[in-house]
Subunit: 198 residues, 2 copies
């Protein structure tokens, strides 16, 4: 059985739990205690020397880190991944956008506000994340104004990757009020079969 | 014929040029004038609403942004991409590591020092990038101490993605002196057939 190591509050970990659930793959969830530094301990670093969650354990010796790489592994050959080479590359395009332009702003803003208690020492960083977050949402809004889902108008792991932190953007002080196409897409994602809340 | 839009000084663009060359795919290279804001103009934003380079033009109406998504597209079905699902996911793992932990530190340090002239206003950011850069190199060194290339001991797009900015790390004040396994790997990458310099 697959084992997933993560923290339920993390959007990156939620992506994995959502995909496992929608694909009806049996799995064990292991909650990692980041507050007490479990991810810096030798037992965790043996699974992922980079010290980050989530990690998927595939067999006794095989551990796969990086949320979007895990989505790729799980979705391979399923309806959550399109078949064509261009369409697959477009899924990658949106997942790299998510990790480079979206998550470092929208997830970090949420972390600073909701989990770190918005300390004054991080206010400048927060404001930078909010600006960057809106820029990422602008790109998504433009695309979703013309498309039902991110790739080929079909629900895929690109939607799972971008849904995770977008639907919690307001936790970080980033409002979705001016993004009607994103809000409609969030509803479409949430209405997919076997959807689970974060 | 494929057209690639990028800037020769950029490691993200170099990845694309290197893969196109090693795969012996005929292509036209279009240099984008970032200094004069060509990437913010409507003609460029029609190709990539996110305003970033590189972009691969596949046909009259089809444009693919994100360097590692372009590598995925180009390498599909070639020797630069392993065949197995796990091995492909491991290629993704290292490419997401590159875009999340490596490039935002090592490429940004290089940009601040080499291209922006190391302004005092960015010194704090630079020091943060240098710390993060060494952390990414530590993870790579540990892996390359036991592996000849990043995935399956075979040269792949994971190596191309990580080579781009690693071999220019010293431009940003990040020394490779304490990374013998990385230095040996850089030489192995540079000795591959049809390798081109950045």
């Amino acid at each position: 059985m697959l084992k997933a190591f993560g923290m339920s509050l993390s959007g990156n970990c939620y992506k994995v739990k959502l995909a496992l659930t929608q694909l009806e793959l049996p799995f064990e969830w292991h909650e990692v205690d980041l507050r007490h530094g479990e991810h810096k301990q030798p037992a965790f670093l043996r699974m992922n020397p980079n010290g980050q969650i989530p990690v998927l354990q595939i067999d006794e010796q095989t551990f796969l880190p990086e949320s979007n790489a895990i989505l790729y592994y799980l979705a391979h050959g399923t309806d959550l991944m399109p078949q064509g080479k261009l369409e697959q590359a477009q899924v990658m395009q949106w997942m790299f956008f998510e990790q480079y332009c979206h998550e470092p702003n929208i997830a970090v803003a949420r972390f600073i506000v909701k989990l770190a208690g918005r300390p004054a020492s991080r206010e400048q960083e927060l404001q930078k994340c909010i600006v960057g977050g809106y820029k990422a949402l602008d790109v998504m809004e433009q695309h979703l104004g013309k498309n039902v889902f991110f790739v080929s108008n079909r629900y895929s792991i690109a939607d799972i990757a971008l849904y995770a932190y977008t639907h919690k953007a307001e936790d970080g002080g980033i409002s979705l009020d001016n993004y009607p196409a994103i809000r409609a897409w969030l509803q479409r994602v949430a209405s997919q079969d076997r959807h689970i809340a974060m």
